[in-house]
Amino acid sequence: MTAPLLEVKQLVKRFGGLVATDHLDLDVRPGETLALIGPNGAGKTSLIAQLQGDLTPDAGAIYFSGVEITRRPAHGRALMGLARSFQITSVFPELSLVQNVALAVQARLGHSFRFWRDASSDSRLTGPAREALEIVGLSYPSRPASDVSHGERRQLELAMALAMQPRLLLLDEPMAGMGREDGVRMTRLLNELKRDYAMMLVEHDMNAVFALADRVTVLVAGKAIATGRPDEIRADPQVRAAYLGQK
Amino acid sequence: MDVALFTEQLLNGVQLGVQLFLMAAGLTLVFGIMNMINLTHGSLYMIGAFVAAALFGHTGSFLLALVIAVPATALAGALLEAAVLRHFYHRGHLDQVLVTFGLILVLNEIVKMIWGAVPVPLPVPQLLSGSVTLFADVTYPSFRLAILGVGAVVALGLYAVVAHTRIGMWVRAGASNRDIASAMGVNVELIFSLVFAAGAALAGLAGIMAGPINAVQVGMGEPVLILALVVTVIGGVGSIKGAFIAALMIGVVDTFGRVLLPPALGSMMIFMLMAVILAWRPRGLFPVHG
C-alpha cells in the first residue's frame, strides 16, 4: 500500500456551537478519485476550505504528500499542488477567459514582479492557458468572464485549476447548476482527467459519483459514517438510512 | 510636570475623549450597521453648533439653544439619511466616500450662505463661566467639567440602551449581521434611520459643547471627524465599547503628546498609536464583524 497523497487526522472545525468537521479522518491515495457525499450542511465545503486553506481548523492535522500543511497559508498550498474549484463560482469577472487561466499559469511560474512586458501576448502564459481552456472545452477565449454562461464559468474554474498543474484537484460540486447536457459533458471530462490527476470530488449527482469514484466517503454532520468502494457504499444499510434513503 | 498641571491636562484629555466619543458613537454604529462610510458626520457637528449659536443669539439662553439644537441636528441627520445616504448603503465604499465628500462641500457652503464665513460667537453659559476648585490649588473651568459630566452621562446612557434594551439588541444584531437581523423580522430600515438620527443628535451635542471652547465656524467638523474616524478604527468598527475606550485613549494621548513632546511629534502621536494598534490588531481592539 502506497503512502497517501492527502491525509486528514482528527480534524475539527466549529462555527460557534455548530460542529462542521467532527474529528474527521480521511485520506486520498495517489491517482485516486475520492468522492465525498452527504446531505446539505454535512460539512463538505467546510472540509474542502480547510484543505485548501481558506478556513483554519480548530484541531487536528492535514498532511499533503507527507508534509503537514494544517496552518500553511492558502497560496502556499496552491503552489504545492492543491487546486480548488469553488462551489460558488469564483473567477476574475473583468478579465478575459484566457487572462483568468493565464494568471494561474503565472502563479506557478514564480513571482510576478515583472513590470514591463505585456502579459497578454506572452506565449509562456497564454500557451498553457489556451491548452487548459481547450481541455475543458471552452472556446472564444477572449470573452470577458463576466459575459459567459454559468456552465462555462464552471468550466473556467476547472481550467484554472488544471493550469496550476495540480497534484490534487479539490472539486466542490463542479456540476452544480449545470443543465443535464453540460453535466454529462462535465462527467465525461472528469472521467478523462481522472487518469492524470488525483481528485477529491464533492457531488450530489449519484450517477456521476458512482461512475467516477474509486472510493466514496459519506459525510454526515461533520463525521465520516462510511468509506468504501462505490458498490459497497451503495449497499451499506447505514448509508442508505442516513443519506441515500432520504432522497 | 507638577500634580496640578498633570490633573488639569488629564482632565483636558478625558474631556476631549468624551467629546470624541460622542462623535464616534454615531460613526461607529453607522459604519457597523449600514457598512457605510459617512464623512458628513463632521457636518452634523457643525450644524449643531451653528443652530445653537443662532438660537443663543436670539434668546440669550444657552440651555434653550442646547435643548432645541440637539433635536434639530437629529432632524437634519434624518433628512440627510432619507434623502441621500439611504440610497448608498448598497453601493461600494468608493461611492460612499465620494457622495459624502460632495455633501460636505454642499453643507459647508449652505452654512456659509446662511451664517457667513466669519466665526459666530457662542459664549460659555453664565452659570458655568467660573472655575471649580478640585483640591488644594487645583482649579478647573466649570464648563469643561460640565462637558465631562454630560459626556459621561450620555456614554453610560448609550451603553445601557445598546447593552440592555430591545432596541439595543436589534442594533447589536444589525451591527454584527444584517441578514440575520432582517431574518429576525427586525425592521432594519427603521433601525437604520433611528440610529442615524441618534448619531446625528450626539454629533450635534458634541458640536454645541465644543462651540464655546473652539470657534463656531465653517469646516469646524472636519478635524474632529478625522479624530473620530481614528477612534472608530482603533475601537473596532461597530463597537460602542471600543469607541469609548479608544476615545479616552486618543483624548489623553493627544493632550499629553502636545504638552510633552516637540510639536511635530506631538501632533503625530495619535496617528502613530493608531498605526501600532492596527499593525497589531488590523480590525481594531474590539472587532464586531467576524
Binding site: 469553488f86 470577458p144 | 460632495g102 457652503e109 496617528f271 488590523p282
Partner: protein, 335 residues
C-alpha cells in the same frame, strides 16, 4: 460599465495617450495665438495634478484601493524639493548632514524616493486591513502628514515654504514658464507610458486580479499583499514627483496642498475622468481644475455647485468621462 474589459486593446490606449499629450503640447501655441499666457499656467497645473491622479488611479482604479492619503504623499514630494532649496539657499545642512541643492535632477528623484518610502511604510500598516478600515486609515495618515508639516516651524509651518533661489535642471534654469511646462508634460507622458505598460504586465495582471477577487487569487497561489504594497509605493513615488513639480513650478509649497480635501479631490479626478483607463484621470484633472476656475469666477458659493456635481457624477456617470466619450463616439458612428 459600457466598455467591457476584454475589448481592452493596449494599442488604442497608446493612441489615446498620444492624442492627449499632443493636445496638451499645443496649449502654449494656442495661448500665444490668443495672447493669454494664463492658459499655460492653468495647463501646467492640469499636467501636474494629472500626474498625481494617474498615480492614484494605479492603486484606485486598477488595485481597488481607495486611498485618501495621496495628497499627503504629493505634499512630501513638494517639501523635499522645497527643503533642499531652503538649505541650498542659506548653505545650512539638513539633519546637520546633507547640503541642500537647487538641482532638480537630484531633487525630483529624491522626492520620488522619499514619497515612495513613506507610502511603503504607511502602506505596510494600511494594506493589512481592507474596506472601510483602509479608507479611514489612509485618511488618518494623510492628516498625520498634514499636521507634521504644520508643526515644522523651521520650514514655515502652516504658512508654507517659499523657494527663494532659482531651480535648475542639469545646470540650466528650469523655471521658465514654457520650458517648465514642457518638462512637466514630458514627465506626464513618461508616467502614462510606464503605468500603461505596468498594468498590462504580469505585475499589473496580479494587481487588477487582486481587486476583482482576492480569494481566487490566493487560491491559485498568489498572495496579493506584496504586489499591493509595491503598487502603493510606486504610486506614492509618482504622486511625490507631481508634488515636487508643483512646488518647483509655483516656487512654494504649504500644508494646504496636503489637506485631506485635496486627497478627496484627487479621487474625484480619477472617478470623473474614468478609472478603467490609465489616461482617464488626465481628463478628470483637466475638467476638474478648469471647472474650479470657471465656477469660482462665477460665484463665491461655487463649492455648492461643485459638491452637487460630484454627487451627480457618482449617481449617473459611473464610468466617468471615458464613458461619455464612448457614448458620443457610438452615436456619431451610428449616424
Amino acid at each position: 460599465m459600457a466598455s467591457s474589459p476584454a475589448s481592452y486593446r493596449p494599442s488604442s490606449d497608446m493612441m489615446a495617450i498620444t492624442v492627449i499629450v499632443a493636445v496638451l503640447a499645443a496649449v502654449p501655441v494656442v495661448a500665444s495665438l490668443v495672447g493669454d499666457p494664463f492658459l499655460v499656467k492653468i495647463a501646467t497645473r492640469v499636467v501636474v495634478f494629472a500626474i498625481a491622479a494617474v498615480a492614484l488611479n494605479l492603486v484606485l482604479g486598477f488595485g481597488g484601493l481607495v486611498s485618501l492619503m495621496h495628497a499627503g504623499l504629493f505634499g512630501i514630494g513638494g517639501y523635499v524639493v522645497a527643503i533642499l532649496a531652503f538649505h541650498a539657499d542659506d548653505s545650512s545642512r539638513l539633519f546637520d548632514l546633507f547640503p541642500g541643492t537647487t538641482e532638480l535632477s537630484i531633487g525630483l528623484p529624491l522626492a520620488m524616493l522619499v514619497a515612495g518610502a513613506a507610502a511603503a511604510v504607511m502602506g505596510l500598516v494600511s494594506l493589512r486591513t481592507s474596506g472601510v478600515y483602509f479608507i479611514m486609515i489612509t485618511l488618518a495618515f494623510n492628516q498625520m502628514l498634514y499636521y507634521f508639516f504644520v508643526a515644522l516651524q523651521q520650514y514655515g509651518g502652516e504658512d508654507g515654504l517659499q523657494i527663494m533661489s532659482d531651480l535648475t535642471l542639469f545646470g540650466h534654469a528650469a523655471i521658465g514658464r514654457m520650458s517648465f511646462y514642457y518638462g512637466c508634460l514630458v514627465a506626464l507622458a513618461l508616467v502614462l507610458v510606464v503605468v500603461q505598460r505596468l498594468i498590462n504586465s504580469r505585475f499589473g495582471m496580479v494587481l487588477r486580479a487582486s481587486s476583482q477577487n482576492e480569494r481566487r487569487l490566493t487560491a491559485i497561489g498568489i498572495a496579493p499583499l506584496r504586489y499591493r504594497l509595491t503598487a502603493f509605493a510606486l504610486s506614492g513615488a509618482i504622486a511625490g514627483l507631481a508634488g515636487a513639480l508643483l512646488a518647483a513650478g509655483q516656487q512654494f509649497i504649504s500644508p494646504a496642498e496636503m489637506s485631506w480635501v485635496r486627497s478627496g479631490d484627487l479621487v474625484v479626478m480619477c472617478v470623473l475622468g474614468g478609472m478603467a483607463r490609465v489616461w482617464g484621470p488626465v481628463l478628470g484633472a483637466a475638467v476638474f481644475l478648469v471647472l474650479e476656475i470657471v465656477l469660482s469666477g462665477w460665484s463665491t458659493h461655487w463649492q455648492l455647485a461643485f459638491g452637487l456635481l460630484i454627487i451627480l457624477v457618482v449617481v449617473s456617470l459611473r464610468g466617468g468621462l471615458i464613458d461619455l466619450l464612448h457614448l458620443v463616439g457610438r452615436r456619431g458612428a451610428s449616424r
